[in-house]
Symmetry: C3
Subunit: 377 residues, 3 copies
């Protein structure tokens, strides 16, 4: 494997992880650990360790628990339990070499570390990303009249983003409707009518009019908007979350807020197209990085970077629940990007100073430009 100065630079760089989640706070038995290891559900007869991410955990996480590389799953879990979840988490987060985490706090079916706890454990700074669907659902749960929904939601979001440390909002429209939506801002009567049905029927926010309304509310906020695109769990209809379905909406909202396309796989080329033609669009390949592991991170980054302007690539882990994922995401990103850039330097397709500049941009500088952390602190 090619190594060289770009590897050294990226191995030592302090990262900004612009989108991640907290870590499960309690100890994890094997079923609980395995259930976090996969985007599917654990299935009888198939161990979630027998996956690319399982292989990557045994290869790259075991040594941080003082085990040999490729330790068996049972040995791994026994040692993790022996050390205790807090110590394992501490080791993995420290190994990420991350200075800044932007934490999506809106999805907590199990208790997770808060941004503050994550920051303290990792000796880093944490900012918060407000998940808009969670705010909308809290508004609904608290009780609201349909014709007051729009205003109440707006007020609740404005209140949420005024909290210290909030730097962005996020939407999981991908999970709720996909992106083949009417791009136009819905009218007040449309929103009221849709709210009437939703508030009567209950359940999570999945009405197309209300999802559009949510995206347009984000535009009004002025903060960067993170959008889940591509890969996720079985709730996704993958063909409906190709981010190019957002093209008309991106035209209508040009000149307003930065839009950060998260994950993207297998649509990383489609996402790259959007970053190349829309000023406000950025991308990362988080989530994918740890699921495919270092063995394929470089191939996916290479596709993502075919036409993406180098100021448009950000790093995220999208790690959720297991600190192993924070570690693997960072490692895959460092090794994948370094491999790609170093190979080009070795082939004289890229100068070393340019390669180092691109690495620094993607590792953190681009995120600093988008989120203006110093203003948010």
């Amino acid at each position: 494997m090619t190594t060289g100065p770009v590897h050294e630079a990226l191995a030592g760089a302090r990262l900004v992880d612009h989108h991640c989640h907290g870590v499960v706070t309690g100890d994890l038995d094997r079923p609980a650990f395995e259930s976090l290891l996969t985007e599917g559900a654990p299935w009888p007869g198939i161990s979630p360790f027998d996956t690319p991410v399982g292989i990557a955990v045994r290869r790259h996480c075991a040594p941080l628990l003082d085990l040999p590389r490729h330790a068996p799953a049972d040995v791994y879990l026994a040692r993790r339990a022996e050390l205790g979840a807090p110590e394992a988490t501490r080791r993995f987060l420290a190994a990420t070499g991350t200075d800044v985490f932007c934490v999506d706090t809106g999805y907590t079916p199990v208790p997770l570390t808060s941004p503050g706890q994550l920051a303290e454990t990792a000796n880093a700074t944490a900012y918060e990303v407000v998940r808009l669907e969670s705010v909308a659902e809290a508004v609904a749960s608290a009780g609201v009249e349909p014709d007051a929904y729009a205003e109440t939601f707006r007020a609740a979001v404005e209140e949420a983003v005024r909290q210290p440390g909030v730097v962005a909002v996020k939407s999981v429209a991908a999970y709720r409707t996909g992106f083949d939506l009417d791009p136009v801002r819905p009218s007040d009567p449309e929103v009221t009518e849709a709210a009437r049905h939703w508030l009567a029927d209950g359940g999570r926010l999945a009405d197309p009019v209300l999802v559009r309304h949510l995206l347009w509310t984000a535009v009004d906020l002025g903060l960067p908007l993170q959008l889940h695109t591509g890969f996720g769990d079985a709730d996704i209809r993958l063909h409906r979350v190709d981010p190019t379905h957002l093209t008309d909406w991106l035209h209508l909202t040009a000149g307003t807020i930065p839009v950060l396309l998260l994950h993207c796989w297998p649509y990383q080329r489609q996402a790259a197209y959007l970053t190349a033609v829309f000023e406000q669009v950025y991308l990362d390949v988080g989530l994918t990085l740890h699921h495919v592991g270092p063995a394929r991170a470089r191939a996916i980054l290479a596709e993502a970077l075919e036409i993406t302007p180098f100021r448009k690539l950000l790093y995220s882990s999208d790690a959720y629940g297991l600190a192993e994922f924070h570690h693997l995401g960072a490692l895959s990103f460092r090794q994948g990007l370094a491999g790609l850039l170093q190979e080009r330097v070795d082939a004289d397709e890229l100068s070393l100073p340019d390669a180092l500049r691109i690495a620094a941009w993607a590792g953190g500088d681009n995120a600093h430009l988008v989120y203006r952390f110093s203003a948010a602190s």
Copy 2:
């Protein structure tokens, strides 16, 4: 090219080819051979040998006919005729190193070897896969009243799968309607009404209601269901056979039958997503393997395996008509998968025992789990 113990293991492994067809029984002149070599039709001025698969045949099949590698097409065909089709077929099938063939017997515009003949020639065991559209069309040909269609079709399928050696059913819904179908089981009156039109108009089964009915009938049978997805001939509308269009149907049928996504290219990543989030979904990259040849098999397997659980990848050749394809499919699979795994072992991303385990699973063990051949014999 990297070689090593994984190559040795896969070169010597006995395979299960979980989806293939028979071999043309008669001798083949050049036009007949060329017409089988391509998924298109032969065209004036363009030899089907001037394709990736044609190059692969001259490279990897010529030596089995005692010719030098890269023998010209004319020389190849002359030698093949000289040896006779049965001897050529015998050599290619023996070279596959296959213990078990699952043979789709439902598509025979030209006479093909039966599963029994294929098994005898290859010194292997053959099982049968019942193509559901063929059963439905036989029911229609035999004459049936619209309101008896559903029951008659069900009875015919149940009879077909009761035959000795039947281990699975298959649908070519991809060719008939694509997968952007209403996922819900159609009602009896809907089926009767659709049958009324189809039985009056004739032709092959391509009515969306009847295709849905066929897929739901497969669910009731309880056998594994093979689904053609992705690449095929000009009858395909490729954008409609992205398997993620099946997501809603997979949710509705979760917990029932195994679903095996065949071929998949160029949607191997989309198929991989489905295997990662649905317990019942498996994939292969058959058909593609011989069309792209060993030169690209590894790249396609690498994409297919980015997130696919290692118990979810199966081997198939989807060879049809030419025993060259059975050979090339097996060779591309062995070399492609070995290259991919060995490289990871060499980079210490994967342990050798894990690599050998994954190779054994994909080469046959996974198919044994899905099809339970011993129960079917």
Copy 3:
């Protein structure tokens, strides 16, 4: 990096660039140059040089201006200005090693060299490609009654293609409607009705009926039809320009005119499928080649060639405005294809004579067969 006789052959081959545009005739200041460098618009704070194509210009174009490889953008532009646009253009066009350019003359928001000027500068022959939308829009601008639109457009196109040196027509239906169109030829009343609305409303031709009419008019002309597919500027809805949406139309028009799928990325595999199953379909990966640069050209060509018959791949630069792009397109094509073929020769997957034959076909012979230049001169 692998090098060998295929690299030598392709480095020295004279190319046919079957689809390109002219070069801006005047001098270019930095904003004007940067605006041509990107398919987006130039954005404050992000230099279009900080992209893969910007890196490729500094690496591969700087030396032709007597600068060191990887010269900074400012140095590059200063030296370019010092030499003057005509001298820079002369150097880049000469470096392409192109014998024949087919020039799309239908898009000139800024003044560009004519085919004759391009030919003279490059010491090559230039043919013309008539852009059908431009002809239609000229007909509308000149004034026409709705019920005379079809006949007037047909006459104008027939007149345009009778001009000396015209070898093909082109449509940018991709930009106007995408390809998810009714494939059937529209009736005369439908065309008249659609023309009534368009001629009243003005603007560019984007009515689905008129776009279909335009494509069917192309069929009647009998000349090869170039179709923009895939990657382009922000006017594209990328998911609607996957060329497999043309499948039904290709069935209806089989046996009529050659159809050349331009660019294709990120749908190069989908385009390859069409070339493999439709006699009349060809592809190139122009535009993409210079945007991704030599560092990724090989990977994209490898995908495009997975199943494409070797007589179906053509070379184009799709260079527009900057002669740098004509140079980079040719260089990326030569190096990318040579790398791919030489590697297969080295692995004994392909014989050297076959590799050289494939290189010669793609570099020019295939274009000669499609366009019959000698007949057109």
